[in-house]
């Protein structure tokens, strides 16, 4: 699997660390309540199809990326810098 890092270009999957769903971008407020935090930490749409998740170019440039890809075909559509993502 290869991901095109916005800094480094196409790179092998082995350079990246996978974190999980990109919903992590939308961190609830401290007092959002158990349900909101449960959803944030645990519950997942877990789509069989297009998804967006967070990867860290750990053995590369050190950028956190939002990767849009497909969980069924493993097609990778797009990778963008997480720090520029809309929240």
């Amino acid at each position: 699997m290869r991901i095109t890092c916005p800094n480094c270009g196409p790179r092998d999957r082995r350079e990246f660390y996978y974190q999980g769903d990109a919903l992590a971008l939308d961190r609830p407020a401290e007092d959002a309540g158990l349900e909101a935090w449960d959803d944030y930490l645990h519950n997942r749409e877990n789509p069989a199809g297009d998804t967006a998740d967070l990867w860290f170019h750990e053995a590369g440039c050190g950028a956190w990326l939002v990767v849009e890809r497909n969980t069924v075909t493993h097609a990778v559509h797009k990778a963008t810098l997480a720090e520029k993502a809309k929240r």
Partner: protein, 173 residues
């Protein structure tokens, strides 16, 4: 008066040569990481140009003493003062730096590095933040058949070991 003795990261390990490929240690005197603060890239670049004659290099590139060093970070070979515009951290002792050269250097690195480093693609002064074996490295093509490789200082021995094995394998072909 007591005096501390300095040792280089690859002391006692280099140089090595196999089949026309040679690895030698590079000993930069000063290495400073430079990470411009929010909105300060231009200011940082300007100050750098003033101080060492070269601004921030392009992503994945080296320009003079300035090497792109990852997301939002550069490594400058030399002393700089960038108060207020960038975080500057002394990295002079943090890296083992070696040069690998010779006609087979590309083949040796192809055994270890998951990035296309062939001359047609990875040109002089191109920089790759990538892996060598299981280690994170920074690779710069410094000449037609020469690459500079930086790895965490404590991994110098593994770097030399991995290069040695790959060089022997290439030479044996």
């Amino acid at each position: 008066m007591v005096k501390l003795i300095a040792l280089t990261p690859c002391a006692g390990l280099l140089p090595i040569t196999h089949g026309g490929v040679e690895v030698t240690e590079v000993r930069p005197e000063r290495l400073m990481s430079v990470a411009p603060y929010a909105g300060q890239s231009k200011a940082t670049s300007a100050k750098l140009k003033e101080q060492i004659g070269e601004g921030l290099s392009a992503v994945m590139c080296r320009a003079g003493a300035v090497t792109w060093f990852g997301h939002g970070t550069w490594l400058v070979a030399g002393e700089v003062a960038l108060d207020g515009v960038a975080a500057v951290t002394d990295q002079s002792d943090a890296w083992a730096v070696v040069a690998i050269s010779g006609a087979g250097a590309e083949d040796v690195l192809a055994r270890l590095v998951p990035v296309d480093l062939r001359a047609g693609v990875f040109k002089k002064n191109h920089v790759a933040k990538t892996m060598l074996g299981h280690m994170a490295v920074t690779i710069t093509r410094t000449d037609t058949a020469t690459f500079e490789i930086m790895v965490m200082r404590a991994m110098a021995r593994t770097l030399v070991h991995d290069l040695d094995i790959a060089m022997r394998g290439v030479a044996a072909r």
